[in-house]
Symmetry: C2
Subunit: 271 residues, 2 copies
Amino acid sequence: MDERPIGVFDSGLGGLTVVKRLMEFLPGENIIYLGDTGRVPYGGRSRGTIMKYARQDISFLLKFDIKAVIAACGTVSTNGLEDIAGDYHIPVRGVLGPTAKAAVRETRSGRIGIIGTKASILSGAYDRRIMELMPQAQITSNACPLFVPMAEEGRITDGDVALDAVAREYLEPMKSADVDTLIMGCTHYPLIRPTIERIMGPRVRLIDPGEETARSLRDQLKSDGLLNGRDQGGKYKYFVTDSTEGFAETGSLFLNAAIDGSVEHVSLEDF
Amino acid sequence: MDERPIGVFDSGLGGLTVVKRLMEFLPGENIIYLGDTGRVPYGGRSRGTIMKYARQDISFLLKFDIKAVIAACGTVSTNGLEDIAGDYHIPVRGVLGPTAKAAVRETRSGRIGIIGTKASILSGAYDRRIMELMPQAQITSNACPLFVPMAEEGRITDGDVALDAVAREYLEPMKSADVDTLIMGCTHYPLIRPTIERIMGPRVRLIDPGEETARSLRDQLKSDGLLNGRDQGGKYKYFVTDSTEGFAETGSLFLNAAIDGSVEHVSLEDF
């Protein structure tokens, strides 16, 4: 039994779609969330800048007595997180491993698609991880840079003309390649899942990194004896690097539930 | 005669549309440009965060022996720049004043439209400035948050389906209000001018803050005796807070010319 909280960070509020899954799979665990809303988005930045920001995010979370760090951010998870994870005294995990594993488990044809931010796709991290697990896999990937700002603007309704035009363009290579499994490699994409599902068709399995990561973390905490022993009543604390104004409203969109927990502003410059 | 350079800063590379105008109006002046590409965009952030970042941007430019600072960024110009300008020993100017003045000069009906980032529109700064100059003005404003990411993705061709859908929606209030003058209140908007022009129609005057700011700065430097006395051959230096990779390519899109000058990475955390 280990009552220490789990630390979760993301470039902004998108990571709350991952927190939502953690709450489902680990309803008794306490969570401390950091959203770097003062510097969101990370997805168009260089690897060096992404890792610098990730180190600051992790250092902030380590101020608390936590038992693990989850990088909810697809961009961070694919741009060097595993290279720095060993520098910390507690497990630091991203979404890459569990998500790649799930895609390999779900595919029948071996034709797997990956969509994500520019930085995630450019990194080639998903491709490499999948090929390690399934050398015969055929991978098609495409960056979808406008999905994040569109979702952040609440332009998530299936049928939205602009969203539809952009999504058709981004997903066209996936359809041409006849993938049967598609990794939604960015925290924001679950919000536009209906549009992605409609365009890809009912026979394509969509992989949600938040779900896979939460399941994998639950299994690991269980096997390491680190669960906190409760099956409900987890407590939540939220920190953001921009103003806390509007957090409850926007946050609840991503969390798909009301925000239950305090929210505080924090400055990361000293971390 | 004053050969010191002019310092220009922006949240990212959009400010190069303003530099383009400075090069036109002041071809002999030397320019030092800072693009905060590691934290772009500013337009969705809170006023406090915007001013904190602006102070760091200005402090960096003041490392050089410059004669004036221009905030090319519409978001910074409308979110408190004038409140902090007096803290510096050289003129620190934004785009707000010259742009509002131009709109009042150009309108015939007094019906003026303003488009900009969320933070710019929420600030109400353009509305207040215009009403001071023309109390009978009727102002219609609307935030256009997706124009920046779309322009940054190169989605600027008139006829692009997604751009067209978003632009029609954003500009609809301007058309309903029958404005005869429209302020393009963000550095990125000149790139999508053809689409804005087509939707608004030929009778609406578009005001480009870069052009107005460059003209105004030229007149001020002239009257203060601070021009450097050359009418060509200005030298340029560029600094960015994310990686310099790709700067020449993306920068030349905004500048509408090849980048002629060095580019360096800089970290603003100590400013």
